[in-house]
Symmetry: C2
Subunit: 212 residues, 2 copies
Amino acid sequence: MSHTLGIRQAQKQKTRQALLDAALALLEEQSLSSLGLREVTRAVGVAPTAFYRHFRSTADLGVALVEEALGSLHPMIRTTVSTTGDREERVTRTIDLIARHVDGYPAHVRFIARERHGGVQPVREAIRDQLARFAEEVKDELAKDPVSEGWSEDDLLMLAHLYVDQMLSTASLFLEALEGPREARPERTRQVAQLAARQMRLIGLGRHHWLD
Amino acid sequence: MSHTLGIRQAQKQKTRQALLDAALALLEEQSLSSLGLREVTRAVGVAPTAFYRHFRSTADLGVALVEEALGSLHPMIRTTVSTTGDREERVTRTIDLIARHVDGYPAHVRFIARERHGGVQPVREAIRDQLARFAEEVKDELAKDPVSEGWSEDDLLMLAHLYVDQMLSTASLFLEALEGPREARPERTRQVAQLAARQMRLIGLGRHHWLD
DNA sequence: AATTCCAGAGAACAGTTGTTAACTGCATGG
DNA sequence: CCATGCAGTTAACAACTGTTCTCTGGAATT
């Protein structure tokens, strides 16, 4: 199925990726709506006009970044929600996985948190769609759990959205800890993990008494 | 206590407010990090240099907008959380109050949601501080409730943050409904209210079984 | 009534932006 | 091997940006 790309296509994809990477780096200290096309090409070391060979506009590049940041996350979601072990263990495992992801891809996390309500409509929509897909997947996994017996489809989706929002909020807090003063980092990370654990535990409790 | 301002100070405050209003309007379709000082002064109808008489930079103006958008919200929070009535009633009353606020100040809500994780550090910090103050106030109100007997201070604050995040998320959803196609607006608003009600109900359930 | 103060105006600055057009050189397919 | 395609370059454009300095008119102070 996969076809070996010619030298030409390979080089094109390479600069395209360089543009995406440079943009992501520049977005650490600004929003997409203020990201200039020249700024990006300058960082890559390529002529401004080369940008148009890959993207119509910076908004278009933003949508591509959404794919990159969230597209590869689906398998992780599935495995996370459906991990075995007792309830407390699953909570800590989930939070640990989030922390690990933030550590590995901080720029991606920041981009999503920032542009989810950002000033560029197409990007907002792309993020909303991806998160809705996540919620659907979480819902499917929740449905398999015996605890969900008797739940309506609406209620399952409501809970799924709550979980997704919670995960994003937690990821954002981990990121803040990561950006804070170096010496306070471990302690702050611990605090965030503890807060997230309690909140997830409380939501889990509400879940178990939903049908009372 | 209040002193009648001279013509001079009054006129100054008037243009200052005009700058804030114009900025807020311009921020409906972009982020603060891309908002230009000339853009704002042009919208108001004053010379670009007049801007410096009121703000050091657009970031500075952003911080002022945070005060305007969130500063006046504290009394509302207090009265909301401490309203009487049975649990179901309190949930719907709270959500109704949020919806009303979004209706009345949509630009403020959008600004806070957008810049909370936005590209301008001082503004992010200002919003974080204000939200932390909100959480403290919610915590104080929660502590008065007999349900909170035996709760640790940490757990109360954890729940307070969960509620604050939930409120902001709900407000943002109401805003999206408000911005959507005119004909789908009532139905979409109803859906958001229903979703928020269920989520708050579930959190409330978790709260009541916290000490099991 | 004379003086000080200061919000806002005006002009100019160097530097930036997105977009256009015509080009070059090299990998590709006939 | 040669003709075509196309990623990236070069140059130029009008428009825009934040910031500085100088000036002005009228309110505030004395």
